[in-house]
């Protein structure tokens, strides 16, 4: 176990390294993204720009620049080019909002997906199944930002049931926190509810055909016990592992659209702005942040997978 975690950590560092290099390179090939010119202002002359460049170390060779940048990220000293604000601090400030959004949405999506998927599988072929299937397929066909825009338009602007976005910290006012996040939660969850309920349905239908389910019935377990203890429990394995991956991806950048449309001051919005302004330091940091979460949850999923399915022995499969 410890060995496995160590191995994953090494892999994680490798992936993060690769990602940071890629981002760094992408941004160094963008023409005219010269940060010094931007910092120096619209009337700047060449001399001033040269001094700014020197100050930022942008005259150093690329590898040196990369190392400096990474050092600053990990010592929390990185400041953005466009606003001179501390990047790590900005990300830290965004985490509560992003986490509130993602965790809340995750709870909603898992709860609904399990209920819908279970009902769908148990009533496979029935009316309820057809209805849930239709809903699920519509759910996975909705562009998230579009759904967000439409919900905002109808429920916040036309009917004025909900606030027009924004984020209220949980510590400030829990009721407002939830009130402000309700629409974003639903928006973010809809896609996953659709996807996961479909997945659970087919997973359950597969598991229902497994020999051990027959064994369970032959044991005289009630149908309910068979379905929950054997069918659902085993069907959830792929779901839970996928959940880890998706949750990591959502925290690590998937919430960008929702945060943008609902104006939630989270990491996603910050990332969006950093990209919009081609601001390398925050972009490096948020990409690393995102990738970190994705890789982290990948690793958690692997560990969880081994726990959920004892057949999988850690370390043997590395992917």
């Amino acid at each position: 176990m410890g060995r496995f975690i160590a191995k994953r950590l090494v892999g994680m560092v490798g992936v993060l390294f690769a990602i940071s290099v890629i981002v760094f390179l992408i941004f160094n090939v963008i023409p005219n993204s010269d940060p010094a010119a931007r910092i120096a202002g619209k009337n700047a002359d060449a001399e001033l720009i040269a001094r700014v460049n020197d100050d930022l170390g942008l005259n150093d060779p690329l590898p040196v620049q990369y190392v400096t940048l990474m050092k600053e990220i990990f010592t929390g000293q990185l400041t953005s080019y466009s606003s001179d604000l501390n990047v790590d601090e900005q990300i830290r400030e965004g985490i509560p909002a992003t986490m509130s959004l993602c965790i809340g949405a995750a709870i909603i999506w898992m709860a609904f997906a399990i209920v819908f998927g279970y009902l769908s599988a148990v009533r496979a072929g029935g009316k309820l199944d057809t209805m849930l299937t239709v809903l699920a397929l519509i759910g996975i066909s909705l562009p998230v930002f579009w759904l967000a825009a439409i919900l905002l338009y109808y429920l916040s602007f036309r009917v004025q049931l909900f606030p027009t976005g924004g984020y209220v910290p949980l510590t400030e006012d829990p009721a407002q926190w939830a009130y402000h996040l309700l629409l974003p939660w639903i928006t973010l969850a809809v896609l996953f509810i659709g996807f996961y309920s479909r997945l659970l349905r087919s997973s359950m239908l597969d598991v229902m055909n497994e020999d051990y389910v027959r064994t369970a019935r032959a044991k005289g377990l009630s149908e309910r016990q068979v379905r929950t203890r054997h069918v659902l429990r085993n069907s959830l394995i792929p779901i839970v592992t996928l959940f880890g991956l998706d949750f990591g991806a959502v925290v690590g950048g998937g919430a960008i659209l929702t945060e943008t449309v609902f104006n939630i001051n989270g990491v996603g919005l910050y990332a969006g702005e950093a990209i919009g302004s081609l601001d390398l330091p925050p972009l490096m940091a948020v990409t690393m942040f995102g990738a970190f979460f994705i890789v982290l949850f990948n690793t958690i999923v692997d560990i969880l997978y081994a726990y959920l399915d004892p057949r999988i022995r850690l370390g043997s499969s590395a992917v």
């Binding site: 020999d211 027959r214 044991k219 377990l221 399915d309 057949r311």
Partner: protein
């Protein structure tokens, strides 16, 4: 449904069982009019090639084939109560409690995510009002009974940590946990090596002897049947083609299909023949079985009358139990089967 009804009649009685499945290509009649009876402490072997309906028969007894596309008729009476008509709940009380079942593939028949002990205890807890601790203790005891070494340690293993033979033992332990009256063993050794097969068969024999357990043993291997069964029923294409006592089937087989089965065995107890007798062709599709005698297309002895389906009856007269589905006259049978050289050895060697 009391588990220990003391009726003098058969423990389990199946009458005119028909099981069909609606498929995309039409109705697939897996079992077509199967009847048999099982007495307390008796071992009944059901033999046939894959797809002959033997497993469906067994699973239907347990109600495991119930589904929206299954068409089931006939009756399955256990201790006088009909299981076909029984509610799901009543059926549930019989399963595991009175009739237990073990399956062909011990690799997949245990839930991979639960510990073996837990899966055994689960069955006990589903039927008995006992504490978890008691159920666990019982599980350890059962594992010991079926010959798992160090059961108190192995009880906390996951199925993947068991070898195939141990898993099948664990399945047997589970089946025995509530001391059922009937054990249905559906090809319990097919997936196992010969050495392990011998172990499991010995175990089943022991249980039958020591606990007076009635066993339905389903297999395609006549050799396995010969080891443990008291009576044998040969199935072909969803129908019973011959039934009788073990000795009757082996020493006085009446149906050409049984001859074929016996003949095609590669056996160690006889001199090696120049050439193995074989049954030509393939088993028919159950979607559109041939008219008349279903074995007719493969039968070397078929004649006009075979276009009509023979009924299963004791044509020998004297032994009512020994019955078969063949139009040939007993005399004719005797002469024809001897042609094959190795079957129809006449009276028991003793």
């Amino acid at each position: 449904m009391s588990p220990r009804a003391t009726a003098s009649g058969p423990l389990l009685s199946v009458k005119d069982l028909e099981v069909g499945f609606a498929t995309e290509d039409g109705l697939l009649k897996a079992v077509d009019g199967v009847s048999f009876e099982l007495a307390r402490g008796e071992v009944l072997g059901i033999v046939g090639e894959s797809g002959c309906g033997k497993s469906v028969t067994a699973q239907t007894v347990m109600g495991l084939t119930r589904s929206s596309n299954a068409r089931i008729s006939g009756s399955v009476e256990f201790n006088g109560a009909d299981l076909i008509e029984a509610s799901d709940d009543d059926l549930r009380k019989v399963r595991g409690e009175s009739i237990a079942m073990i399956f062909q593939d011990p690799m997949t028949s245990l839930n991979p995510v639960y510990k073996v002990g837990k899966q055994i205890a689960e069955q006990i807890l589903a039927h008995r009002d006992v504490s978890d601790k008691e159920a666990r203790d019982r599980a350890i005891e059962l594992l010991r009974d079926v010959g798992i070494p160090h059961p108190e340690r192995r009880i906390d293993d996951y199925p993947y940590e068991y070898s195939g033979g141990m898993r099948q033992r664990a399945m047997v332990a589970m089946a025995l946990s509530l001391e059922p009256e009937v054990l249905i063993a559906d090809e319990p050794t097919t997936a196992l090596d010969v050495t392990i097969q011998a172990q499991i068969l010995t175990l089943i024999e022991q249980l039958n002897r020591d606990r007076d357990l009635a066993v339905v043993l389903i297999t395609h291997d006549l050799g396995v049947v010969a080891e443990v069964a008291d009576r044998v029923q040969v199935m072909y294409a969803g129908q019973v083609v011959e039934r009788g006592t073990l000795d009757e089937i082996f020493y006085d087989p009446q149906h050409p299909y049984t001859w074929g089965l016996l003949g095609s065995l590669t056996r160690l107890d006889r001199p090696r023949p120049k050439r193995l007798p074989q049954i030509a062709g393939q088993p028919p599709s159950l979607l559109s079985p041939p008219g008349g005698c279903r074995f007719r297309p493969r039968c070397p002895h078929a004649f006009e009358q075979c276009a009509e389906l023979p009924s299963l009856e004791g044509r020998l007269g004297k032994r009512s139990e020994h019955a078969d589905r063949c139009w040939l006259q007993p005399k004719e049978k005797e002469s024809r089967r001897s042609v094959d050289g190795r079957i129809g050895l006449g009276a028991p060697a003793a």
